[in-house]
């Protein structure tokens, strides 16, 4: 039973210029109740790895550099 992947537009976006994940910050990853964010080690920024968002906003509220923006997922907008 082979698998295929369906691309999807994710609701949480990160401003790479403002993100300080390269300095060791993981606040947004830590506070997400659904654990959907991760750090891209190569780029040194956070990103949304799984499209499983409750649009609850701790990631945006707790980011020390205001790098995170939560949009309403497209299906709900």
């Amino acid at each position: 039973m082979p698998l295929a992947y369906t691309p999807t537009n994710v609701p949480v976006t990160i401003n790479a210029d403002a993100c300080i994940a390269d300095k060791g910050c993981t606040v947004c990853v830590d506070v997400c109740p659904l654990d959907v964010l991760a750090i891209d080690m190569a780029k040194g920024t956070a990103y949304m790895k799984y499209d499983e968002c409750w649009y609850c906003m701790p990631c945006e509220a707790d980011c020390p550099t205001n790098a995170v923006t939560v949009s309403i997922p497209y299906l709900l907008r």
Binding site: C32, C56, M57, P58, P73, R77
Partner: protein, 578 residues
Amino acid sequence: MTTDNSETIMQVDVLVIGGGTAGPMAAVKAKQANPKLNVVLLEKANVKRSGCISMGMDGLNNAVIPGHATPEQYVKEITVANDGIVNQKTVMAYAQKSFDMINLLDSWGVKFEKDETGDYNVKKVHHMGTYVLPMPEGHHMKRILYRQLKKHRVKVINRFMVTRLLTGKHGELAGAVLLNSRTAEIAVIQAKAVILCTGAAGRLGLPSSGYLFGTYENPTNAGDGYALAYHAGAELSGLECYQINPLIKDYNGPACAYVTGPFGGYTANAEGQRFIECDYWSGQMMLEFYRELESGRGPVFLKLDHLAEETIDEIEVILHSNERPSRGRFHERRGNNYRERMVEMHISEIGFCSGHSASGVWVDENARTTVPGIYAAGDLACVPHNYMLGAFVYGAIAGQDAAEYCAGHEFAELDMQQIEMEKARVLAPLQRQDGITPYQMEYKLRRMVNDYLQPPKVTKKMEIGMERFSEIRDDLQYLCASDPHELMRATEMQFILDCAEMAAAASLYRTESRWGLYHYRVDYPQTDDANWYCHVQTIKGDTDQPECFKREIAPYIVELNDEEKGAYSKLRVASTSA
């Protein structure tokens, strides 16, 4: 993964599962009761922002404050709102401790609305009494709880979920099997007592948007505790009394009439007419909501456009900074300005939640389940309409009682075979190279829940639903997860399947209609007190299928007269009845 017994085994006195609302309170109170106890608070996410109050809460919905309400009045209100099916002792235990809890939270720094004399500024939303206490700055709730956890030196373990509780030779609690959602590490905790604080079963129905995680409840609340209690042999109750809530359409969060009601906002039909007397969430209210939604005067809206500018400003500040702050963002994109037009509403997917309805793990007034050593508090514990304050009160009760229980009990012996079987079950999806993903299986399961279990309930449809669920259970052998995160979802998906089967079994068992829309059976449309004035309990039967039986309602400690009994059956505004 090796097959030796190399997993971590930890020993703790009290294991609190779930760090949202009831959990932190339970852990703090267990520690206060006996500071020497080893108390661990386990959280699937991170306690700093976990649970359904991750962004705080805009008010208390059920504050019993002297001068505004009495415990007896409150017990009456909830008895009537829940169509008589309550264990009044549990509601009374909440009501009597409600005021002390408000004062405790106040002393911890939670900011409640007060009047110019410093008294709590309580508002009327319920049909009979006055119980709503606004918290316009309630967004700081989680920070306050976190501070208390640190102060009381509660050990916190984040990013672990419990997959099964372990039981001893006599059916008592022995411990829990844990799964790390980032590494797929399996760990075992031997415990004298556990307190289940895992919240509602919020991922049971599929929201009409089709987005798996766009649920009313925080979607991390997949019904873990309901399934854990079930497999450990505990009784569950009122599972046919679903949670269904009136929400902002598509956004699927509260509108929120409890906040706007006291300011003059209300639920209206397309003509802008009020059609229900009272916006307090009950099954009877939901039935009127559903009827209006499906009628020629539908759909249903939240009406604020008649209010003064400064009133709307105040409402916006509360609604767009608390509980579900992304509401404002949703409205902006739709061009929904409260000043100019009404906001379209809809009904939520079904779920289990005793915080709003009555579907829960059976507990007594000490938060004890029917299994020695297992406690439950918060949305998943069957204390009807308990809300956030009820979660705090029952968290406190459970923490104190569990601490006492530890003093009189030794650790039950762990059964290594139970652990090995569970480890194999949980990790199986990770060992498959391909198959069916947890997302596909969950989507299909939850679509079937909508198609066959959502009220109005029809006997044959629910029976077909059972067949579909059983086919999905057969497919579990193909469930595959490509990383530890997906394994967490695969494990949750199996909890949801347990809950779906329990929901169908309990709904089929009660052959009458009750609680308005929550248990509206088209082929048994009447309420039948002669046969069904009782609790319906669900347990895991000998054949591994849910089994239901009746439990008598304990004699009321607060009597009701006939007029009071009928109060919630007269919710429709007379001029709008068909």
